[in-house]
Point group: C2
Chain length 120, copies 2
Amino acid sequence: MSGERHYNIPSEATMDVIGGKWKIIVLCHLSYGPKRTSEIKKKMPDITQKMLTQTLRELEEDGIITRTVFNQVPPKVVYELSEMGVSLQPILDQICEWGEMYLNEKSKVIRGQAKEQLLT
Amino acid sequence: MSGERHYNIPSEATMDVIGGKWKIIVLCHLSYGPKRTSEIKKKMPDITQKMLTQTLRELEEDGIITRTVFNQVPPKVVYELSEMGVSLQPILDQICEWGEMYLNEKSKVIRGQAKEQLLT
DNA sequence: CCGGATCCAAAGAGATACTG
DNA sequence: CAGTATCTCTTTGGATCCGG
């Protein structure tokens, strides 16, 4: 994020930090508390280790999360929202809430369609 | 969006709809009112027409925006947040606010570094 | 074993020219 | 003006290997 790029609206700065395919979902999981790599991976079965590592690195570089290494065998690494990351909490919460609402609306539509089919 | 995919957390449903490189920025601009294609393009100089068209199509398909075609020469097409899109407004607002805050914090750090250099 | 790195293929995005 | 087609380049995915 040292690229000193120009932003047309402030939202672009936000998306520069939390944009990308996986970042927001990772942050949503970390918003429930610190987690080690394998725990995040378990919550996100569809992400590859590679993308998970890359996503976590970028979030760390931008100061959104912290990374703590426990020198032990087997290794243990814990990720946690930083102060800056915690300031994203309202956004993360609303993204979750909106998703619940959207899925609800969609299932209503699907039930409605089923009803229509029964009537034809 | 007919893919009936499984979501591990509701946030994934949200990101399915407003994720991707450009969607949120387009929605932020539309949150200030309806706009025609060329107006959005002017506000987003870095997006290509191709990606703009594609982004608008996907948002329309998911019921987040509406597309109104005026049959005239030259053509005129106006995009607007749908009711579902308006329900995203709080998220869009907060993404903008957070960006402002983040840019502020970052410039503080940069000024701090300049100050340090003056002292060495 | 756990967390991460490397290499190669696939998918997504950028640039540009073109159509109604 | 709005949108398409094609080609190129970047980002993401998948398999495999490494260090502790």
